[in-house]
């Protein structure tokens, strides 16, 4: 009877969940297999550590790993950092709060590529910002801001694009905290920061973790912002993967792809652990 019920549930889930699992599973399997020499489209197929070995020795790969982690982590923290005060501010409705909330979430509707092109237009050498600053007499000559070496442009774009998503998750979580609980903390002597650290953050830790992880994974694997607004002296992992694929080096591309997946999983786990550790003893 139990087996029958289990099979029934499995059968019911299969059309939806099964398709997702199959598609993801096939992609993951192919990528892993290719990274170890199987499904070689340009030579003989067979198990080999050669692609991993060579890739791990490449400077461009290691720089891409470090760069992608940098963009992923900083974007995740910046998005959550800006989303929290806004979520707390918008916790209670006030005249205009609906319009402000809608405006803040507008970036979700703008495609990343479009946003990147708009951004480039603004910060270009002869762009709007340079013209404005010169017009105001603040700058004597145009500044070169495009494709900056530290990827500030990419971080700005990532934060602009992902902050609304973090805001969506955090607003719901912050709204679920009762006024009385926050007032009680205040009554017991907790100032604004103490209330955030000891009450709001621990009670919204799950939303915080979800935001950090989702933004991190998205920014880690960013391609469009990087290609348009990123530094020219560095490549992100996805950029490197596309480069290898375009050169017909599928196995190398697979190594980079698997690296991205592993970093995403490990990074997400680490972010979740760091959040819990930071709020140790204060987490529900």
């Amino acid at each position: 009877m139990k087996l029958k019920k289990f099979l029934l549930i499995l059968a019911l889930l299969t059309p939806g969940l099964g398709l997702i699992v199959a598609l993801i599973g096939v992609a993951v399997y192919i990528a892993i297999a290719q990274s170890f020499g199987f499904y070689n489209l340009a030579g003989e197929s067979g198990f080999s550590l050669e692609f991993w070995d060579k890739m791990l020795d490449r400077k461009v790969y290691n720089r891409a790993v470090a760069y992608s982690i940098y963009v992923g982590v900083i974007s995740a923290f910046l998005s959550v950092m800006f989303a929290y005060p806004l979520a707390i501010w918008l916790r209670k409705p006030f005249p205009g709060s609906l319009a402000i909330g809608a405006m803040l979430k507008a970036p979700l509707l703008v495609h990343g590529l479009v946003a990147a092109f708009l951004f480039i237009n603004v910060i270009a050498y002869h762009g709007v910002l340079n013209q404005l600053m010169q017009g105001l007499g603040l700058w004597d000559e145009p500044q070169r801001m495009q494709n900056d070496r530290n990827a500030i442009g990419v971080l700005l774009l990532q934060t602009w694009k992902n902050m609304p998503f973090a805001l969506l998750l955090l607003t719901g979580a912050v709204q679920s905290i009762s006024d009385d609980v926050l007032n009680a903390a205040r009554d017991l002597g907790a100032g604004s920061f103490a209330r955030f650290r000891k009450v709001i953050a621990p009670l919204t830790v799950s939303a915080m973790q979800a935001s950090l992880i989702i933004v991190f994974i998205g920014a880690l694997a960013d391609f469009s912002f990087q290609v348009i607004a990123g530094p020219t002296n560095r490549q992100s992992l996805s950029q490197l993967m596309v480069f290898f694929k375009s050169s017909g080096r599928w196995n190398d591309a697979a190594v980079v792809g698997v690296s991205l997946m592993v970093i995403a999983i490990v990074g997400a786990g680490l972010l979740a652990a760091v959040t819990r550790f930071t709020l140790r003893g204060r987490v529900a």
Partner: protein, 350 residues
Amino acid sequence: MDGISARNLRMEFGDFVAVKDVSFEVASGEFVTLLGPSGCGKTTLLKMISGFVTPTGGQIHLAGKNVTDTPPEKRDTALCFQSYALFPHLTVQENLEFGLRQKKVGQTDRKERLDAVIENLDLSLHLAKLPNQLSGGQQQRVALGRALVMRPNVILFDEPLSNLDAKLRDQVRIEIRRIQRDFGLTAIYVTHDQAEALAMSDRVFVMNGGRIEQADTPEELYSAPKTSFVADFIGSANVLEAQVKSTNGNGEIELTTPLGRLVATSSNPPKSSKVKICWRPEHADMSANGENQLTARVKHRAFQGHFTDLHVDAGGAEYRVQTNKPAIREGDVVTFSLRPDQIVLLEAVA
């Protein structure tokens, strides 16, 4: 003064005036209850004292210090919330310690205060539990302990017993009063339950429409209400209009009422030639020997055990009478008398 002093407190929310120029004094160690129906302004007044609402006008002094614009975290008050407001992610012990850690109380002092509260409120078995693992009464005790451990100058209660069942409410009521006395705290207690107010308070402030209608001891409020609202809100009262016919030097006042001629005695002269008067249902004397004899027909009868509640018709209006004669039935004609000193003169009729 060491307690609380409020002068001309006013709170406006747009066009709505929630609290209208309220002034009062609460002595140190006194237990005062703000009593009134929903929307009368009692919770707003409490929030002004605790600092969660800044008054539109007026001043509040705690222990002689003007705290009108002081935020709640800087006031020497502790508030017990109706919903308990325990931190759901912290254990009972962490909840109790929260305020002490905020105020950076030293470890020795913290332990000593915690131990006292834990023992006093019998919380030792629950220290490691989370609030959702406690019953309503236990949560209430933790909320009380969390406030008491701060040893505040003033403790404030916002309908703290409203979520408890009747039996538990009686127990916690006694406990709150005992602790307030033991710790010598000045307490302001908000409730809409008049029985709770009468049982617990040194004084009760009866509020109506954003004003304090009467501030008195429970006994005085019951026996000598000053307005028909207070008379009706505190216990039950038969309120009727009366024309003052004559007064004499002995405090005797002759009245013409829909029930006929009545004589009342009062140390204060009537406020107008036309006033409201009231009498309590239990003051009707069925032996009918005394003054102010009245005759009425019983419309409804409800046996209540130690007394019988009668709704009687007299002079075209309905009044309430309580008697210890259970044999009286609906339709019976009863005669009862009212002692002149138990007829209370209220406000003037506009």
